[in-house]
């Protein structure tokens, strides 16, 4: 079930939105302050967050910054009492799904949540892939990592052997083992994977 974190200082609004979302099959979790949310949030749970813009203590935009700075990728939807263009621009630039005005229509809200659900799923999938790649990379020996970076940089085995002060044959062995560990057969696959993992295609050495 898709979880929706609700953060609003108004209990009536929290209650109403929770009820609506529950009726639509979501799992709403209501928080009356940013602090409370930050404390109890579980990033592992699939879901999105809906922030009220004007709240005592941390307001919605600040919460967004704090939240993202904490490494959270969760999609965020904003609710606000009054349409405020500078704030909406700021929110959208910071990656918000939508910026909705109270009183919010269920269609607009559910649509935004649906998009958030999609984004979240995508993000989680990417996250999962990355995690798998990183896990594989983690199994490489330091020599194999060196060979990996040289390969994705487009060097030939001979050149790599020369760079690393060894013989071509040794490099071939490392390269074969590295490709096997990472589960790729072609250099093209290897480059794609390295890219996902954020490994630079230029050689720093």
């Amino acid at each position: 079930m898709f979880t929706v974190y609700l953060v609003d200082d108004n209990p009536g609004v929290l209650k109403g939105l929770s009820r609506l979302l529950r009726a639509k099959g979501y799992d709403p979790r209501a928080f009356s302050s940013a602090q409370e949310f930050l404390e109890q949030h579980d990033s592992a749970v699939a879901g999105c967050a809906i922030f009220d813009l004007a709240m005592p203590g941390l307001d919605g935009l600040t919460l967004q910054q704090v939240f993202k700075a904490g490494g959270n990728q969760r999609p965020i939807i904003f609710l606000t009492g009054k349409g405020d263009i500078p704030k909406s621009v700021q929110a959208m630039k910071a990656g918000a799904i939508d910026f909705l005005t109270k009183p919010v229509n269920d269609v607009a809200l559910l649509d935004a949540i649906a998009r958030a659900e999609h984004d979240d799923a995508e993000a989680r999938q990417k996250q999962a892939e990355l995690a798998a790649i990183e896990a594989k990379i983690a199994t490489l020996t330091p020599r194999e990592r060196e060979v990996l970076s040289h390969v994705v940089a487009g060097r030939l085995n001979k050149q790599i052997a020369s760079d690393l002060g060894t013989v071509e044959k040794t490099i071939k062995v490392h390269r074969g083992r590295m490709m096997e560990k990472l589960g790729v057969r072609t250099v093209a696959d290897l480059v794609r994977l390295a890219e996902k993992a954020g490994i630079s295609t230029r050689i720093n050495a």
């Binding site: 004007a54 709240m55 009492g81």
Partner: protein, 618 residues
């Protein structure tokens, strides 16, 4: 014997020496009275003459008076010794003028002139012309005489009392009176068919009084002369007339002005005053050397008819009956106549007082109107300020309404979604609807609060729970406070006595103080923005609401100006907020003070009198 008494008793010698004695001998004038000094009308004529003469004479005058009683006694032959006495009295003194008063005196002088004062000029006064025919006067004589129109007296009676049937003529029985009785009888003959004349000359005064007292209303009395009645009793007329007046049942008419005020109604009258004045004039001419026989003084006749107002009233005679040109004397002095000045003074004082009171009332009214005006303007200004403050807060207040609307919409749509499900959760739907109702009420409250603040109205006076008012105010400002990152700390102890006043105006004060506090913290870092509001009851029954901000505090230059209209430290302020707040506090018998808090920021304290006996609901 009678003669002796008269001679010695009445030969009074009066010497009037006018002051500033002259080198030359004074001029001597002898007045000869026929009856005595006190007998009207001669005494009145003599008195008037004497006074006028002394007044008008440029030279000092020696005035002698001698009084015979001969007019009343019948026998002139007894005069001898009196003449002797006179001669003795006047011997060695040269007389310049001899003045017999009345016909009897004139007759006496004439009889004895050759013996007593052969060359002295004589001026007869007060006698009627028919008693002294011109032929009896010599060159050395003259007379200021009366010309009595006797029928005029009866005419007068009939004019005033046309229904008169009988006229009783009061006249005595002395020689002079007998003379006049005959004259009157003669002159009154033309009235014989109009009125019946009764003659009292053969009655005693007692009988006259009795008759007068029982007369029917159509009678009248004509008082002619009473020096001696039928019984030979003499009367000084004043007293007799006054006695008659007391007894009479009908009006009394008289002959001369000397009777005025003594009981006569009035009419054409002998003018003794005029006579005296005329006579004095003639006397002075004689004393200057004119020949008496060449002076022909006019007869003294009736002047304008004179009436006694009191008698007219007594007998019911209206003044309309009086002949034209009549003079009415003795008008009862009205209160106005008697106390004219006092009344005018009192009136003036009363008028002044009235004016003063009116002025004071007017001023009072004006002041009240001004106060009402001022109060109205204050209400108006307060209202305008509320509108202005609420205008500033409109976004925040809209947000306050928006919150419940959001909750309502969500709940309603949730309910719809729930209903669309195959087996709707009715309990959940009911709760949703309950929440809708609750949120709707909240929105309604905000609107009501707003409306009351926007409403223009008279200042109300009711119980006010200050803590409630503070909470409500914070409720209105909630969104604004959040938007400005301002925290509010409250310290509102329960059990606070209630205040008394207009909740709207008091809330306006709170709103204003909050707004000031919020504006004051524009430059304060977000984390430090905090407003502390507390309420408490202090000794002597005062409630205090303190609002403290964490701004820069009040500048030293602002301290004195804070409550002055149009003073503002804000960029967009009107400068009326605190002025109006202070005015509102004062109109609630309270006050508003502003100071800097010792730990920084400004501290506003609103003090209001508490109603001890009422404790706010907890």
């Amino acid at each position: 014997m009678r003669f002796m008494r008269a001679a010695f008793g009445c030969a009074a010698l009066l010497t009037l020496v006018v002051a500033n004695a002259h080198a030359t001998e004074p001029q001597r004038v002898l007045l000869v009275h026929a009856f005595g000094h006190a007998y009207s009308p001669w005494s009145d004529m003599a008195g008037s003459f004497r006074a006028e003469l002394v007044k008008k004479s440029p030279e000092p005058i020696d005035l002698y008076e001698a009084s015979l009683d001969t007019a009343r006694v019948q026998n002139a032959g007894d005069e001898g010794p009196f003449v002797e006495y006179m001669r003795a009295l006047l011997s060695g003194r040269k007389l310049d003028l001899i003045v017999p008063v009345g016909a009897p005196a004139a007759f006496f002088v004439k009889r004895h002139r050759d013996l007593l004062f052969p060359t002295t000029p004589m001026m007869i006064i007060g006698a009627d012309r028919r008693r002294i025919p011109d032929a009896t006067l010599t060159d050395n004589d003259t007379g200021v005489l009366l010309d009595l129109d006797l029928p005029a007296y009866v005419d007068n009676i009939l004019r005033l009392r046309p229904k008169t049937t009988d006229v009783a003529v009061v006249v005595g029985n002395s020689p002079v009176e007998r003379y006049w009785t005959a004259e009157l009888r003669h002159d009154f003959q033309p009235f014989a068919d109009r009125v019946n004349l009764q003659w009292f000359n053969d009655l005693t005064f007692g009988e006259m009084l009795k008759r007068a007292a029982s007369m029917p209303p159509q009678f009248a009395i004509l008082w002619v002369l009473l020096s001696e009645d039928a019984a030979g009793v003499t009367y000084s007329q004043d007293r007799a007339l006054e006695t008659m007046r007391e007894k009479t049942a009908v009006p009394i008419f008289g002959l001369g002005d000397y009777e005025m005020g003594r009981g006569i109604v009035g009419g054409p009258l002998i003018q003794t005053q005029t006579l005296g004045q005329e006579a004095a004039g003639v006397a002075l001419r004689i004393l200057k050397g004119e020949t008496p026989g060449k002076i022909h003084p006019p007869f003294v006749v009736f002047g304008a008819p004179i009436y006694d107002s009191r008698e007219l009233r007594r007998w019911g005679i209206t003044e309309a009956r009086l002949p034209p040109g009549s003079i009415v004397q003795f008008r009862e002095p009205t209160v106005w106549d008697q106390y004219r000045w006092q009344i005018m003074l009192a009136g003036a004082i009363m008028l002044a007082q009235t004016l003063l009171i009116a002025y004071v009332l007017f001023q009072n009214r004006k002041r009240r109107a001004a106060e009402a005006d001022a109060s109205e303007q204050r209400q108006e200004a307060a209202h305008l300020m509320r509108v202005s403050v609420l205008g500033e807060l409109s976004g925040a207040i809209a947000h306050e309404v928006n919150q419940p609307l959001t909750a309502i919409l969500s709940n309603a749509q949730a309910a719809l979604h729930l209903l669309a499900q195959r087996s709707p959760n009715l309990a959940e739907i009911r709760e949703a609807i309950n929440d809708i109702v609750h949120e709707d009420n909240r929105a309604g409250d905000v609107i009501a609060r707003l409306r009351s603040l926007l409403k223009k109205g008279e200042q109300k006076s009711e119980q006010v729970d200050l803590n409630e008012l503070i909470k409500s105010t914070i409720g209105l400002l909630r969104s604004e406070l959040i938007a400005r990152h301002i925290q509010v700390e409250t310290d509102l102890p329960s059990g606070l006595p209630v205040a008394w006043g207009d909740p709207v105006q008091l809330q306006q004060v709170l709103l204003n103080l909050f707004m000031n506090a919020m504006d004051a913290m524009a430059s304060t870092p977000n984390a430090l923005r905090r407003i502390t509001i507390s309420s408490r009851a202090v000794q002597s029954g005062t409630l205090q609401v303190s609002i403290r901000d964490r701004g820069p505090g009040i500048g030293p230059n602002s301290q004195d100006q804070l409550f002055k209209p149009f003073y503002t430290s804000k960029d967009h302020g009107l400068g009326l907020g605190l002025t109006i707040c202070s005015t509102i506090a004062q109109s609630h018998d309270g006050k508003l003070t502003l100071a800097n808090h010792e730990d920084g920021g400004a501290l506003a304290v609103l003090s209001l009198p508490a109603r001890e006996f009422l404790v706010a609901a907890q």
